[in-house]
C-alpha cells in the first residue's frame, strides 16, 4: 500500500466516503443496511430528539432544549414567511424536515469516524430533485399555465424576452444540479481537507501545524455545515416563492 511508499504518511482522504455494508458482507444491494443507513438513521434520530424531545415539556417558560427547538422552528417558519409569503407556510413541515435533515447530517458528519451522508451526490441529488419536482408541481397546480410566466419576463422589452426565456429555462433546470452539487461539494471538500491535514500529523515536524490546521478547519466546517443547511433551505424557499408567485 501507499503507507510503505511514503514512509508513515497516510493519505486516504476519500476512504471516509466509501459506502460499506453494516453487518459484514461485500455486496451493497438496495436494501442492505450500510453505514449510510446508520448515519441517515442517526440524523433522523437527532432531529427528532431536538424537536420532539426538546419540546416535551411544553413549558410556557422554555427549558434550554425547548428554546433551541423553538428557535429552529421559528427560524424556518420566519424564513418561509419572509421569502415565500404566508401561503408558503403550507409546506412548512417539509421544509423544516429538509433543514433539520441537512443540518444534522452535516453536523453529525463532523463527529470523528462518522459518515457524512450529505457528501454523497445520490443523497443531495434526491433532496434537490425532490425540491425541484415538488416546486414545479406546486407551480403548475397553483398557477396552471401561468406558471410559465416565470420564464417570460414581461418587464423586459419584447425583443429581449425570447433570449431571457432561454436563459430562465436553463437556470431553472440547473437548479437541482447546483443545489445538490453545492451541498455535496462543500461537504466532500471540507472533510477531505481535514483528512489531509490529519494525515500530515504523522510527520513529527509538521504535526503541531497539522493539528492546529485540523482544529481550525474543524471550526470552519461547523460553520459551513450550518451555513450550507441554511443555504439549501433558503434556496428551497426562493424556488417555492417562484412557484407560488411566478410573475416577476
Amino acid at each position: 500500500m501507499a503507507t510503505e511508499a511514503t514512509g508513515g504518511l497516510e493519505f486516504h482522504p476519500m476512504d471516509q466516503f466509501i459506502v460499506k455494508p453494516l453487518f459484514g458482507g461485500e455486496t451493497v444491494a438496495w436494501y442492505t443496511p450500510t453505514n449510510v443507513t446508520l448515519w441517515l438513521f442517526l440524523t433522523a434520530l437527532a432531529a427528532t430528539a431536538l424537536l420532539v424531545l426538546g419540546s416535551r415539556g411544553r413549558a410556557i417558560v422554555p427549558s434550554r432544549a425547548q428554546s433551541v427547538a423553538e428557535l429552529t422552528y421559528g427560524l424556518v417558519h420566519k424564513m418561509i414567511e419572509d421569502i415565500a409569503g404566508k401561503d408558503g407556510l403550507r409546506y412548512f413541515p417539509y421544509i423544516l424536515t429538509l433543514f433539520l435533515f441537512v443540518a444534522f447530517a452535516n453536523l453529525l458528519g463532523l463527529v470523528p469516524m462518522a459518515f457524512t451522508v450529505t457528501s454523497h451526490i445520490a443523497v443531495t441529488g434526491v433532496l434537490a430533485l425532490g425540491v425541484f419536482f415538488g416546486v414545479t408541481a406546486i407551480g403548475f397546480i397553483k398557477n396552471g399555465a401561468h406558471f410559465l410566466d416565470l420564464f417570460w419576463v414581461r418587464s423586459a422589452p419584447l425583443a429581449v424576452r425570447p433570449i431571457l426565456a432561454v436563459i430562465e429555462v436553463i437556470s431553472y433546470f440547473v437548479r437541482p444540479l447546483s443545489l445538490s452539487i453545492r451541498l455535496a461539494g462543500n461537504m466532500i471538500a471540507g472533510h477531505a481537507v481535514i483528512k489531509v491535514f490529519a494525515g500530515f500529523a504523522a510527520i513529527a515536524a509538521v504535526a503541531p501545524v497539522a493539528v492546529v490546521a485540523v482544529v481550525g478547519m474543524y471550526a470552519f466546517e461547523v460553520l459551513v455545515a450550518l451555513v450550507q443547511a441554511y443555504v439549501f433551505t433558503i434556496l428551497t424557499c426562493v424556488y417555492l416563492k417562484d412557484a407560488l408567485h411566478p410573475s416577476h
Binding site: 500500500m1 442492505t32 424537536l51 420532539v52 411544553r58 423544516l96 451522508v117 443523497v123
Partner: protein, 211 residues
Amino acid sequence: MFSLLQEAATTAVEITGEEAVVIDETAPHAADAHAYGDAAHYAAESAGLPQLDVTTFGNQIFWLVVTLVVLYLVLSRVAVPRIAAVLSDRQGALTGDLMAAEEFKQKAREAEAAYDKALAEARSEAQRIVAQNRAEIQAELDRAIVKADAEISARTAESEARIREIRASADDSAREVARDVTATLVESFGGKADAAAVEAALDSRMKGSVQ
C-alpha cells in the same frame, strides 16, 4: 483548497490503483465469492470518488427516502403541532398577563380616584362643618349683641327718663324757689305780690333759660 483536493484525488488514485492490482490477483476468488456487483463496486471505486460509485445509489436513495418519510411524519405529526401549540399558548399567556396587568392598573387608578374623591368629600365636609359652626356662633353672637343692644337701649331710655324727671323736678324746684324769691323780693320792696303777675314774669324769664 482545490490544489489540496487534487493532491488528495491523485493520492487516492495511486492507492486504489495498487489495490486494483491486489484485487486482480485475487480476482478468481472474488468472482467465486461474490456477485458481479462487488467487482463493479471496486471498479467504480478505483475510478475515483466513492460518490460516483453508481452501484450504491439505489441503496442510498432507498434509505434516504425511508429516512425522509419517517422524519417528515414525525415532524409534521408530532413536533410541528406541539411547538405551534406551545408558541400560541405562550402568546396567549403573554396577552392574558398583559391584559390582567392593564386591568390591575385600571383598578389601581380607580382606587386612587375613589381615595381622592373621599379625601375631597371629607375636606368639603370639614369645611361645611366649620362654616356651620361659624354660622351658629355668629348667630348666637348676633343674638347676644342684639340682646345687649336692647338692654343698653332700655337702660339708656330709663336713664334718660330719669334724667328728664330729675330735670323736670329741678325746673319745678327752681320755679318754686324763683317764685318764692320773687314774691319775697316784691314784698320786701313794699309791693303787693300779685301771684298771677309773678307767674307771668317767671314764665317769660324762664322761657329762654331752662326749656
